[in-house]
């Protein structure tokens, strides 16, 4: 127990220091996935990647949350909602390498008669956005798709582990923010929208999962209270605040019946032993 606490304290301190590099101009460490593997997971026939069982660091150390808040003009309570950092042990699961695309969602609608998203042309998505993540879907739409696909929506912890690996890094690719690694509203101007799901290879997570930062916020199956609200994770094309693109960010949430222009999803599946 003492060893575990020592290790955790060490990790918290170290990560707080490492995180400082990203937004404050201090040279940052590049964290490898704690498994030591640099290679990314293989995609299976369902377009999913295995996330191995084991402990990962979820959330944000209090000290780091306070520093991020102070250095970016926020009251600390906007970020300390992610604290404390916790060691979470998850069983193995598989997760979609990419968020569900318009093309995939079209097949679901065609087979099931499910209502298409409001921004499509009647029952088909515009050709130009076939490989973009499907948006304008609420929690119930996303859940219905997942069930049809024989999958389910991830809980926040699964989503976060798939996004940042085991070492508590800030972004899927590490602790340094890379503007080109995701689709976000870098200029704060109008006219930004989604990108194709494979447009940002620099944004791969330690497991090779793509688009876990930006493009669309992604529905999780759980939320902080009740069935009317669920976590949405990862930031989206509308995001102008780098802090909101962090994998641990949880200051946003979605009303489950809200099919927003910046909400999408991906699915997970159990690993059968």
């Amino acid at each position: 127990m003492i060893e575990k606490l020592k290790r955790r304290t060490f990790l918290s301190r170290t990560l707080a220091g490492a995180a400082g590099g990203i937004l404050f101009g201090v040279p940052a460490m590049n964290w490898a996935c704690s498994s030591g593997k640099k290679d990314q997971g293989e995609t299976d026939s369902e377009g999913m990647i295995l996330i191995p069982s084991g402990i990962f660091l979820k959330g944000t150390p209090l000290q780091q949350a306070r520093k991020l808040s102070a250095d970016n003009g926020y009251h600390e309570s906007w970020i300390t909602c992610e604290s404390p950092e916790q060691e979470i042990n998850l069983p193995a699961f598989r997760i979609d390498k990419y968020p569900v695309t318009n093309e995939q969602y079209e097949r679901f609608c065609a087979e099931t008669g499910h209502a298409p998203p409001s921004h499509w042309r009647v029952t088909k998505p515009p050709e130009a956005i076939l490989r973009h993540p499907v948006s304008h879907v609420n929690h119930f739409d996303a859940s219905a798709y997942a069930e049809w696909a024989g999958k389910r929506l991830p809980v926040e912890a699964e989503w976060e582990k798939a996004a940042r690996g085991t070492d508590g890094r800030l972004f899927p690719w590490g602790n340094n923010f890379k503007s080109d690694a995701c689709c976000w509203n870098r200029t704060g101007e109008d006219g930004v929208s989604t990108d194709p799901v494979d447009a940002h290879p620099l944004g791969a997570s330690p497991y090779g999962i793509m688009d876990m930062a930006g493009n669309l916020f992604e529905w999780c199956s759980d939320g902080p209270g009740g069935r009317s609200c669920a976590f949405i994770k990862g930031g989206g094309w509308i995001t102008t605040e780098i802090l909101d693109l962090r994998s641990a960010a949880r200051g946003n949430s979605g009303a489950t019946n809200n099919a927003n222009a910046f909400y999408g999803f991906r699915c997970v599946k159990e690993v059968l032993l």
Partner: protein, 258 residues
Amino acid sequence: MNSQIQFTGQPDGMNAQITRVPGFKDDLFNLNYPEAIGPTDNPRYHTTIKCSWKELENGDWKCTGKVEGILEYTIDVKVYKDTVDFYQKLTNQSMEIWSQTMAFNCFNNGSAVSVRDHECKRHWVRTRGEFRKLIELPRVFGPRPALQLYSVEGAPPGKDIPFVESFRSTPENTFIEGWMAIRSRDGNHLVATVSKPALYTFQNREYSCIHSAPSFGALKPGESGRAFSRLYFVEANLEDWYQRMKEELDVIDPTGDF
């Protein structure tokens, strides 16, 4: 009336839209007036209210709403050059004494591209005599993290307003003035919502909406209360707008018979 602003109310619901606002090119502002109304310990939601908007011959708009045997309300709307005014009247038609009343009026900026601010970085409030960005104020991680309610200076604290307390999203010991404003992306314009008297304020990152909730006071069975709300769509800096707003609201009597 001298206004280009287009106000359009929905004939069979609470929704209204504001478009063609000078300085806010192509922006669409959605209103849900009110999403809930009545006593703060048991307000009636729009889903249970029969309400409708109607355009009057003089170009003004009027909304009437009713829950049989419980409440009745009217909202008279006047549109000006860069403001939209809401004169609201609530009548207690129940047999109960309402010690505290309110309207939950939503000013939704999610379709106003030049204004919307889902991250609250351009949201402004005023507390203890100072302008503050909303992100500088405490936030409570409640059951719906995207939204937050704030107690208003001079009004009861949020914990003493059952409707507010039910959200479990109001920071203690933080009181702001009864308005919220969002600066436009270009920094030259702002929109704001203000009420007199204001009971609490609200914002929701999900919709980029802001609320200034008017209070109708305590109402005995059969009694009516009145409140005033105004939306601003101005080309001005925060300080100049604030000065103007204070001067204008000082001379408005929300309890008057409008």
